[in-house]
Amino acid sequence: MDDTGTVVAFYLLSALTIAAALGVVVVRNLVHAVVSLILSFVGVAGLYITLSADFVAVTQVLIYAGAVSVLILFAIVLTPTGDRGNQETFLRLPALLLALLVAFTLGYVAIDTDWAISDREGFQQTASVIGEALLGKYVLPFEIASVLLLVAMMGAILLVRPEGAVEGE
């Protein structure tokens, strides 16, 4: 984990992710902001790979960059004032100060903490371990998540159903 390849990759990917995340809040055009968001998702997936979490990385790309971002794009495109863009507001300076304060606090805490380094070996096959955990120890949250998705689907169908009788065929 300490070889130069991993370190270089970590710094490059972190720079990419942070730049993309900054782009999300700085860029004027909303659709460009979403594209930056997608880039940051892919960057985070890369960071997962440096931690040997291959399943999580691929799932990150699949779910976030593939599906969630499409959802956000549709939300922007279909709302009436979607092409409004990131507007100028008088709260920019206070927001920047607040963000810097939060970043400083988090950074100080992260650097100052005594992180406990685990001496266990990394997983070889993360997919099977995650699968066994999801269907063994964490089966209840798994099932609740699926019920949540069902509720969301039903809500979506109810929202777009035309008024009046259900269309036949």
Partner: protein
């Protein structure tokens, strides 16, 4: 709680791979559903009707080629029948039979194109078009034998046809109608039961017979709605009262039925051609016209100027698209006073909005293909 939506307007055409020419359809869409369809025509208006008033009756025959450019024979014939009605000329028998043969060949060619393009509109990448154009080429070869042209034929004359067919015409025509039913079987095999074509066209663009008759629709569109009306039987011209054929009628009035009716009409045309090629008599192909000097019978004749008596006439025939009629008013001069074309495509387009509203954009394309318009006829 409903989601607020806003309809938006899309222009289908005038430049579009599928509007069969320069034709514009303004659709108001709500998502994919059409809520309004507005036709804008006139992109191909060539003011034929006014130009015809400057030319003699014979000089107007090439105009009729170019109104319906995929069915030039029938266009010529309708006009020529109108003039013959005005003048009271009776063409000889051989001319009548030749007219029948040419019109039926033209019907086969036009329906080949219509059916192929319909399958193309459904999305089959020109494969049916290529196959059906193969048969259309054989018909066009026959036309080239008879009158020297393939598309703008200019074959009919006032009082007959321009020239007799060469000796190699009859054997070639017989060979064509012997081979054609097998080809039609092959096309029906491939297209009739194709799941995707059935899904794309059954139940789409339904026109009830009352609606069809109220909008003066004619031709295969009317027959697909179930009304058995064919000018060849209702008001026989040329030699149609001497041949035996059926009227092909659909039962649902949708796009699939129009397609099926056109395929069946091709078979009926083959039947008519078989009888016509047997029964055609020998004889002159052009009548002796009163206003011209006596011309030798076996040479193509072009009378100098026909001056019909004052009056009006309406000559109509069954073109592959419907009832094609020419309304002529003569004031005794060599040029018509009024030359009006009742074009079937223009009238058949009237219920387009009725048929399209409620469907999707893809349906609108398919419905437009099933009406089988020729924009030259629509705009004249």
């Amino acid at each position: 709680m409903t989601v607020q939506t806003e309809p938006f307007v899309v222009n289908l055409g005038p430049q579009h791979p599928s509007t069969h020419g320069v034709f514009r359809l303004r659709l108001t869409l709500d998502g994919e559903r059409i809520i309004d369809a507005d036709m804008v025509m006139g992109y191909l208006h060539r003011s034929m009707e006014k130009l015809a008033e400057e030319r003699t009756y014979t000089q107007n025959i090439p105009f009729t080629d170019r109104t319906d450019y995929l069915a030039a024979m029938t266009g010529n014939l309708a006009y020529v029948i109108a003039v013959e009605q005005l003048c009271g000329i009776e063409p000889p028998d051989r001319a009548q039979w030749l007219r029948t043969i040419m019109c039926e060949l033209q019907r086969i060619a036009s329906h080949c194109m219509a059916v192929g393009i319909f399958a193309n509109d459904c999305g089959a990448w020109q494969t049916p078009v290529m196959h059906m154009l193969r048969d259309r080429e054989k018909v066009l070869d026959l036309f080239e034998m008879a009158c020297g042209a393939r598309l703008t034929l200019n074959y009919m004359r006032i009082g007959g046809v321009s020239r007799d067919v060469p000796p190699e015409f009859m054997p070639t025509a017989r060979k064509l109608i012997k081979d054609l039913p097998k080809k039609l079987d092959e096309y029906e095999d491939l297209l009739l039961e194709n799941e995707i074509i059935v899904e794309r066209s059954r139940g789409i663009g339904v026109l009830t017979p009352e609606q069809a008759m109220a909008h003066s629709v004619s031709g295969p569109m009317l027959r697909a709605s179930g009304v058995a009306w064919d000018i060849r039987k209702a008001d026989p011209y040329a030699a149609y009262d001497k041949v035996d054929f059926d009227i092909a009628v659909g039962v649902h009035g949708d796009v699939y039925d129009r397609f099926v009716v056109r395929l069946a009409e091709m078979r009926e045309s083959v039947k008519i051609l078989e009888q016509a090629l047997e029964l055609i008599p020998e004889g002159p192909v052009h009548a002796q016209l009163p206003t011209a000097t006596v011309q030798p019978i076996d040479q193509p004749v072009a009378p100098l100027a026909i001056r019909p008596p004052v009056g009006e006439a309406y000559g109509r025939i069954e073109s592959p698209r419907g009832e094609l009629g020419f309304y002529l008013i003569s004031d005794g001069s060599p040029a018509p006073f009024r030359f009006h074309i009742r074009s079937p495509s223009y009238i058949n387009l009237t219920p387009l909005k009725l048929m399209s509203v409620g469907g999707t954009v893809a349906d609108a394309i398919v419905i437009l293909g099933s009406v089988d318009i020729i924009v030259g006829e629509v705009d004249r």
